[in-house]
Structures are given as structure tokens and as C-alpha cells.
């Protein structure tokens, strides 16, 4: 490393610290301050530390709403991601292995899924007709519908790297199509599945707009909506609001620290090929 590279690194670090790290430090400081001190908004070292009491208070607020929200968000995320993995891999598999006129139609669907903004009110109308509006499983299916395009593309390009000889060996052994897929192909997709699970989990866990439209109601609250509710209902308790932000930021931070490489792989898929 040249001295120029070292000095640039130090300058870049200082800039990154001010621009990218300080806002998180601010959030943390606000979250541990007393109610009066947090209301001042100042970026100062907390004069008293109320980490634990603020944490307990925000968890207990409005009859343990945050716990309910974590529960709901977890169910939605796990359910939707599981379906996205299976459905996405199945479509990507057929799309890559069986070239035919249908593929054009599937690609058109994928392109639409990536580009077209969902028509919200007509979607509510459909959900109501099916009895899925304001239900957790309705929300899961919405997340599946919106996430499919990305899953299909990710799986299709990965399946292209798996040799067909494997399928053919299984076919000669007399395996049924579903057995070939679930017992031979799906286990081989593990690296891309891990990536997909991470990227989609974070996207669905952080989703605000879709629960806002399709999942109204106290008992259906999700993590991002607690934050939003807190903002309007507890205007004077900024310490609790920021503690809530902190609690919502920690899960992605942990996931990021552990799975940095896989997340990066998922986010940059398609960057090289275009």
C-alpha cells in the first residue's frame, strides 16, 4: 500500500464517519436519553443513560404492540420467503431447461413484475373479493406476487450453471419430475437460495407501503408501522421513538454482519451481464 492509498483511506474514513456513521450514533444517543433530554434534539453525549428503562418502556407501550408487530412481521417474512424460494426456483428451472414459446410470456411477466407499480386500490378490491384483505396470509401472498420476478431471474441464471447431465442421470434412473427437482436440483441451489432468503427477508421485513395499504388494523401491525404510529402518537417521547428505530435496525445489522458476502452477491446479480 502506497502512502497515497493510506492517506486517501484516512480521508475517506473521516468523510464516511461524518456522513454515514454519525446519523446512526445520533439514533443511538437519542434512544438512551431521558425524555426531556431527547426532546431537545441536540446531538450530544447522553447525560444520563436510560438504555434499559427505555427499552422496557417501548416494548410495553400500547399493550406490547412491538412484540405483536415482531411476531406478525416474522410470520409474513418467513411465509413469503419460503414460497418465493420454492415458486421462484420451480419457474426458473422450467424457464432455463425447457426453451419454448411460453418462455416469452414468462419473461414478459417477469419484466412487468420488475417495472410496473402495483395498482393498489384494484388489488384491495381483489383481496376483498377473495376474503384476503386485512389478513396475514393475504399479505404473504402479496409479498410473493411482488417478489417473484426477482426470484425467478436469480434462480434462472444460477440454474444455467448446473449441468444437465445431472437431470439426465436422474431421468434414466426413472425419477419423476418433482423428485428430480426437489431431490437433485433444489439442494444444489443452496448458495443462491441463501442469497435470496437474505435479500428478500430484509426487503419484506423493511416493507412499509404494502402493509400500510393491505394490512390495516391494530392486530395486524407490522414492525415498520409501529415506527410510523409512534411518530404520530408519541410526539413528545422521542427517546422511545428512537429506541424503536434502534430495535428495528438491529436485525438487519446482525444479518449483514454475518452474511455480508451473500447479500452483496444477491444485490449485484445482473450487474455484470446487464
Amino acid at each position: 500500500m502506497t502512502s497515497r492509498q493510506r492517506n486517501t483511506g484516512i480521508i475517506a474514513f473521516l468523510a464516511a464517519f461524518i456522513i454515514f456513521i454519525l446519523p446512526f450514533v445520533f439514533t443511538f444517543f437519542m434512544a438512551v436519553k431521558s425524555r426531556q433530554e431527547a426532546a431537545l434534539f441536540l446531538f450530544t453525549w447522553p447525560s444520563e443513560w436510560h438504555f434499559w428503562s427505555n427499552l422496557v418502556e417501548v416494548v410495553q407501550a400500547r399493550n406490547y404492540m412491538l412484540l405483536l408487530a415482531y411476531f406478525n412481521s416474522t410470520i409474513i417474512t418467513v411465509g413469503a420467503v419460503a414460497l418465493l424460494v420454492i415458486f421462484g426456483a420451480m419457474v426458473g428451472y422450467v424457464l432455463q431447461r425447457r426453451p419454448s414459446g411460453w418462455n416469452k410470456l414468462i419473461y414478459a411477466g417477469v419484466l412487468m413484475g420488475l417495472m410496473v407499480p402495483p395498482a393498489v386500490v384494484p388489488t384491495i378490491w381483489v383481496l376483498q373479493g377473495l376474503g384476503l384483505f386485512k389478513t396475514i396470509h393475504g399479505m404473504i401472498l402479496i409479498q410473493v406476487a411482488y417478489g417473484l420476478a426477482f426470484s425467478v431471474l436469480l434462480y434462472r441464471s444460477f440454474i444455467a450453471t448446473i449441468p444437465r447431465d445431472l437431470d439426465e442421470a436422474a431421468i434414466i434412473d426413472g425419477a419423476k419430475p418433482w423428485a428430480i427437482f426437489f431431490k437433485v436440483i433444489l439442494p444444489l441451489l443452496k448458495p443462491v437460495t441463501v442469497t435470496l432468503i437474505l435479500v428478500q427477508s430484509i426487503a419484506i421485513f423493511n416493507d412499509f407501503t404494502n402493509p400500510l395499504y393491505y394490512l390495516p388494523g391494530r392486530e395486524n401491525v407490522t414492525v415498520q408501522l409501529t415506527l410510523f404510529n409512534f411518530q404520530s402518537q408519541f410526539q413528545s417521547q422521542f427517546n422511545l421513538l428512537f429506541m424503536n428505530i434502534l430495535l428495528v435496525t438491529i436485525p438487519p445489522l446482525i444479518v449483514f454482519v454475518i452474511f455480508n458476502r451473500q447479500i452483496v452477491a444477491g444485490m449485484t446479480a445482473g450487474a455484470v451481464k446487464g
Binding site: 492509498q5 486517501t8 483511506g9 484516512i10 475517506a12 474514513f13 454515514f20 446519523p23 445520533f26 439514533t27 431537545l40 434534539f41 441536540l42 415458486f87 421462484g88 420451480m90 419457474v91 428451472y93 422450467v94 424457464l95 411460453w102 414468462i106 411477466g109 412487468m112 413484475g113 417495472m115 410496473v116 407499480p117 402495483p118 395498482a119 393498489v120 386500490v121 384494484p122 388489488t123 384491495i124 378490491w125 383481496l127 377473495l130 401472498l141 406476487a145 417473484l148 419430475p177 428430480i180 430484509i202 423493511n206 412499509f208 407501503t209 414492525v223 415498520q224 415506527l227 428512537f242 428505530i245 435496525t249 449483514f256 444485490m267 449485484t268 445482473g270 450487474a271 451481464k273 446487464g274
Partner: protein, 288 residues
Amino acid sequence: MTAKRRSPYPYWFVLPAAVVFTVLFLVPTIASFWFSMTRWDLFQTEFIGWDNYRQFFKEPFLVQGLTNTLIYAVVTSGAKTILGLLLAVLLTSGILWQGFLRSVVFFPVLVSTIGVGITFAALMHPTKGAINIALSYVGIDGPSWLSDPTLALYSVAFIDIWKGVGLATLIYIAGLAAISPEYYEAARIDGATRSQQFWRVTVPLVQPATVTVVTLSLIGGLRSFDIIWATTKGGPGFASDVLASVIYKQYQAGFYGLATAGNVILFLLIAIIILPLTWWFNKREVDL
């Protein structure tokens, strides 16, 4: 059993995904064209032709939502593309703590947009916020970032760029890694300066990444809603309203037909911008 050997890749594999996608995405999208021409309360529809669209292009605050959407998308996408490329070049040049710096730039992409919005709303507070207090130390009288009508949209755009530039950087880093070092060697042998190498080698050869960054950030910018809702709710007045927030407001007010017309306009706007852009990018892809 049919005489023809059945394919080991049956089409019913596509079925579960196709059903969910069709029912919850395609049907509402197609239905939106009809509902956008009605006065609608979810139970009864009354056909009113192009009235909702007329209103969208006549009411000043709806027109402003439309122009704001375009400004917002161009500003955020442009900034993410340029800053993303510069950051990627910097973070692949072998500087000190390069890996850590990449993580720091990227992390905001993963955190809650609402949380980021609330945090920046506090930092941008006109009198108590840290940004203006810091500016006052160097003698600058900081503006009301989020409550000045001429500035609010750009302040929100800034927050969006702060949160999203990490993704652009990451995509560009992957794109730069795909450029063979031989091109730079050849350029150096020919006596190209650093800036010539950047403009003549890096920029043309990193184009696939540029296409991805521009397309993704434009679509994201045109559809942007949560960051605006968490900071200004489209205010002050309608100064930072975009199509997506207008749609939500009309939905809240019970104007479902009008909200759906907004949705159709947003869909057409994205199609009008993205499709020709993709075509143009594909046409001038460099051949090697």
C-alpha cells in the same frame, strides 16, 4: 399414458407462481384501466370516462405531484449513478480500510426507510437539528430543510440518495471487477492519463452496471413513497408530493377512481421512460 414421452420439466411447475402473480398482480393491473375511468367506492362503480385523468392534468396540486415525481426521479437517479461510480472507483483503488468503507457505505441500504426518515427529520430540524447547528459553527445560517417549500423535495431526495447510493456503489464495484486489467495496461502504455483512463476505459466498459443502476434507481425514484411519507408527507402544502403520495392521499380520502387513475399514470410514466431508455442502452452497447 400418452405415447409422447412427457417432459421432465413439466409446465405445472410454473402454475403456483403463475396463479399468485396473475390473481394478485396482473388482474389488478388490468382492472386498473377500467376503474380509473369510474367514480368508485369499492362497491359501486359509475363510469365517468376520462374525467379522472382530466382532473389529474388540471388540478394544480396533482400536476405538481407529476412534475415533482420527474424531478425527484432524475435528481436521485442521477446523483446515485454519478456518486456510485466515483465511490466504486475509490473503493476499488486499494485504499486503507477499503472493505470496511464498502460496508459502511452499503449498510444504509438495508435499514428501515421509515427509521432513516425519522432520524433525518430530526437532524434537519431548522433550529435544533444537528445539521444546522454544525453549519452555524462555520457561520452559515442553515435553511428549513424540510419545511421550506422550495427546498423540501430536494432535502428528501438527499435522504434518498444517502440511503441508496450504497447499492449503486456495490453494483459498480461488481461491474469494475469485470473489466480486464489489460485494458488499463494498454492505456498506460499508450500514455493515457488517469482521467483519460477513467473516461475512455472505465466509463464505456462499465456500461452494463450503468444500465442496471440507472434503470433500478429511476424505477425506484418514480415509485418512491415511504421516505417521503416518513419525512414531509408531501408537505409543506403539496411542495414535496409525488405521484405515489398523491395516490395514497386520494385513497385515504376515498377517491378510489382518482387514486387508480394516478396509478395508471405512474405505470405509463415508468413505461415511457424506461422502455426507450433500455432500447437506447442496448443499441449503444460497446462491442469488443
